[in-house]
């Protein structure tokens, strides 16, 4: 057999392989089209109509979008989601960095496994269960208030999830608790990949722990931080479970988030068009927040 014949066969094989490759992904692609692309397109279509989900729809043009951007309540609800970013993203990532730095040295051995397990536990617990447990903790007679009373701070005790000033931050704390573990684990893993020589070099140059953290750890963790921020920002903007369980969006609209409002608009108020428009806007907002993060954290580490 000549080498050219072999090459030709290989080329033919490569061509078939390329096509058979598509064949392999076809089932997945089909599922993706049916369960992701089609609903997405339908949502977009619905957003252009006034529709109660059953009767005949009326063409609405962009008026649903106008409502989303002009209705005071809806704007407040979108604003709530952005406030939650502080709790769902910045606090877990910040605290995660701190905790990861502290536990970095004990990541091996049974103690390290224990620490990782404990930190990751909130991720394993269903959000609904977490929401219920936290609403007990934060209730008027819950553990949080019991502790406050025990240490003589009874004056601070309150219905954390029921008062206007504390409801949203309280929901935020629940989210922070859930996401802290995820961030820490990601960051610890990232740290374990940093070349120890870099730390050595920094120390020889006379860097203290803070300088070491800023000059070595932080830049090396750029991508991990990017992943953390992406995941948590999406969690904040698309939050639903925790809010639905712990406060139901109240008091007033204090903790209502877009996810909850979309559900209410579509299923309770049967304004499928407006709900879809809010859904599309929410998707756009998520992309708007996440794409810059991706861009910033994926650039060369020049």
């Amino acid at each position: 057999m000549t080498s050219s014949a072999v090459r030709a066969r290989r080329r033919r094989w490569a061509r078939t392989a390329r096509w058979s490759g598509w064949l392999w992904v076809l089932p997945a692609l089909l599922m993706y089209a049916v369960f992701v692309l089609r609903p997405l397109a339908l949502t977009f279509q619905y957003s252009l109509y006034h529709w109660n989900g059953i009767g005949v729809a009326r063409w609405a043009g962009l008026s649903n979008y106008v409502t989303v951007f002009t209705d005071r309540d809806l704007l407040k609800i979108i604003g709530n989601a952005f406030i939650l970013i502080i709790f769902f993203s910045f606090i877990p990532v910040g605290l995660g960095l701190l905790v990861a730095t502290l536990v970095r040295r004990i990541t091996s051995g049974p103690f390290g496994t224990a620490v990782r397990t404990i930190l990751f536990l909130p991720q394993v617990i269903p959000l609904v269960a977490a929401g219920i447990a936290w609403s007990w903790l934060l209730s008027t007679t819950g553990v949080v208030n019991q502790v406050l009373r025990a240490i003589g701070l009874g004056g601070l005790a309150r219905a954390w999830l029921g008062e206007f000033d504390t409801a949203l931050p309280s929901v935020g704390v629940i989210g922070a608790w859930v996401l802290l573990g995820l961030c820490t684990i990601l960051l610890v893993t990232g740290m374990s990949k940093i070349d120890p020589a870099l730390y050595e070099a920094a120390r020889i140059d006379g860097a203290g722990p803070v300088r070491e953290f800023l000059a070595v750890t932080l830049p090396s963790l750029r991508q991990e931080i990017g992943v953390c921020l992406t995941v948590t920002v999406i969690a904040a903007l698309a939050s639903f479970d925790i809010v639905y369980i712990s406060t139901g969006g109240g008091p007033g609209l204090q903790t209502t988030v877009p996810g909850l409002e979309i559900y209410r608009l579509a299923f309770a108020q049967r304004q499928v068009g407006l709900a879809s428009a809010l859904g599309v806007v929410l998707m756009a907002l998520v992309l708007l927040c996440v794409l810059p993060i991706q861009r910033l954290t994926r650039q060369d580490k020049g």
Binding site: I54, T140, Q269, R270
Partner: protein, 454 residues
């Protein structure tokens, strides 16, 4: 390398975005979503009041936590073994969300617990029961019993027009009170006027007893006392008109405003739990049963339950009027069940609904299990409840209210979403001092108008 990855990512982004955009454009070009205009004309008169002997299974969609529907179904099967029930249960809020879709499906239930009926009638999803009304002679029922279940052609207004549902029991609401705490607060008998009631609240507060245990989380439980007051402060017909969506009806009335001001006053005086906005219905029930409050605004569906959990220690009264001896007005509503327009066995379903109102055993179950008056023809007696129970008291109240013709529907039922989108958030604001009474009344009316204009 990261740079390369980013480039590849963006190319993949385009690859993914292209078909997506195509699909979106294609979809947007398609016809409008939604069914053809349903044919919701009056059903033909050909209905049968015979159950027959054919083996059938009725699809029933009922509410979780209210065992009455299932108990009645079981008894019906016992008496008519050829009819079996397939009961599906959900939380009421879930039924509210599901009802339109379930009724529109091919597997529509024969008997279904209904949320607000207006939209369902508008979409032609409910069976018009007028032919059965004639066939079974339901005109022998007191007309006021069924008035909330009538809907005019096209869905508006409610309160007149064709009959679309019947009640599995007819509930009455009022005030439950804890007898031990009443003694502690110096209450010797139920109050005869609103002023007396307010005096009792003050006395309870002074005696270190929580005056009212009421929930206000998830849905506004404080709307119960609010409407109880509103019912007394003006013409209840005005409220009924508003609930039934009669043209020109408004929530922005002096009566509603005065009720709202009173609620604000009570909230400021600490008559409601300080954390009412964090207490949900279940928590309220738990608290009240544990002695966490003197009064609780609630309905007779809890009577049997309260008799079990605090026997002999709980009483009930209809909310009093402004002047002593005034006619009682209270929220009272049927435990609404309708027949799906696409139901497979509408005749059997109607037979069941008629049986619920007229069969002795069924009426007894309605009282014992449901805790509510069974309704039905005026000449049938209401099965008695055990002496000394709160169930006996609520039954008596229900009959008294019927005799005084003082039943009004719940303001929360005015439109499909008024409770969730206006009353609940605004009431939560009001009791937390974040909303004025004037602002509350206006906000509720604004949402009402917004919904009616859709």
């Amino acid at each position: 390398m990261p740079g390369f990855r980013a480039r590849r990512l963006s190319r993949r982004g385009i690859v993914l975005a292209a078909p997506l955009a195509v699909v979106a454009v294609v979809a947007a070009g398609c016809s409008a979503p939604g069914a053809e205009e349903p044919s919701s004309g009056p059903t033909s008169g050909a209905v049968s009041t015979e159950l027959g002997s054919e083996q059938i299974t009725l699809e029933m969609y009922a509410e979780t936590g209210f065992p009455l529907a299932k108990a009645l179904a079981d008894e019906f099967t016992k008496q008519h073994p050829n009819v079996k029930f397939n009961v599906r249960e959900d939380q009421f809020t879930v039924i509210v969300e599901n009802a339109p879709r379930v009724l529109a499906s091919d597997n529509a239930p024969d008997v279904i617990r209904l949320p607000t009926m207006v939209d369902l009638v508008k979409d032609g999803l409910l069976k018009n029961l007028d032919p059965y009304f004639t066939a079974y002679g339901w005109d022998k029922f007191p007309a006021s019993q069924l008035v909330q279940l009538r809907v005019a052609e096209g869905g508006r207004p409610r309160g007149s027009g064709s009959l679309y549902a019947m009640g599995l029991g007819y509930s009455v609401t009022g005030v439950f009170y804890n007898k031990q705490l009443a003694q502690k607060a110096g209450m010797t008998q139920p109050p005869a006027t609103v002023a007396e009631f307010e005096e009792l609240l003050a006395k309870a507060k002074a005696a270190n007893v929580q005056p009212i245990m009421q929930f206000n989380k998830n849905t506004a439980g404080i709307n119960f006392p609010h409407q109880a007051l509103q019912n007394q402060f003006g013409d209840p017909a005005q409220i009924a008109d508003w609930i039934f969506q009669k043209p020109g009806a408004t929530f922005d009335t002096p009566a509603a405003l005065k009720a709202t001001e009173t609620i604000q006053k009570w909230a400021q005086a600490g008559y409601f739990p300080k954390d009412a906005n964090a207490i949900d219905y279940t928590a309220m029930m738990g608290q009240f049963q544990k002695g966490g409050g003197l009064f609780m605004f609630n309905g007779d569906w809890e009577s049997a339950n309260l008799d079990k959990s605090m026997p002999g220690n709980v009483g009930f009264f209809l909310f009093p009027g402004e002047a002593a001896g005034a006619k009682h007005v209270a929220m009272s509503a049927p435990n609404t069940f309708g027949v799906g327009a696409k139901a497979k066995h509408p005749d059997a379903a109607a037979f069941f609904l008629n049986w619920v109102h007229t069969n002795d055993k069924a009426r007894e179950i309605s009282v014992k299990v449901g805790g509510s008056s069974p309704g039905g023809p005026a000449n049938l007696t209401v099965p008695p409840a055990a002496e000394g129970t709160v169930l006996a008291e609520t039954l008596k109240a229900s009959q008294q209210l019927g005799a005084e013709n003082g039943a009004v529907d719940f303001t929360a039922n005015a439109t499909g979403a008024i409770f969730a989108s206006a009353i609940t958030p605004e009431m939560q604001k009001l009791v937390a001092g974040q909303q004025t009474p004037q602002g509350y009344v206006k906000a509720v009316q604004a949402e009402y108008e917004k919904e009616l204009s859709q």
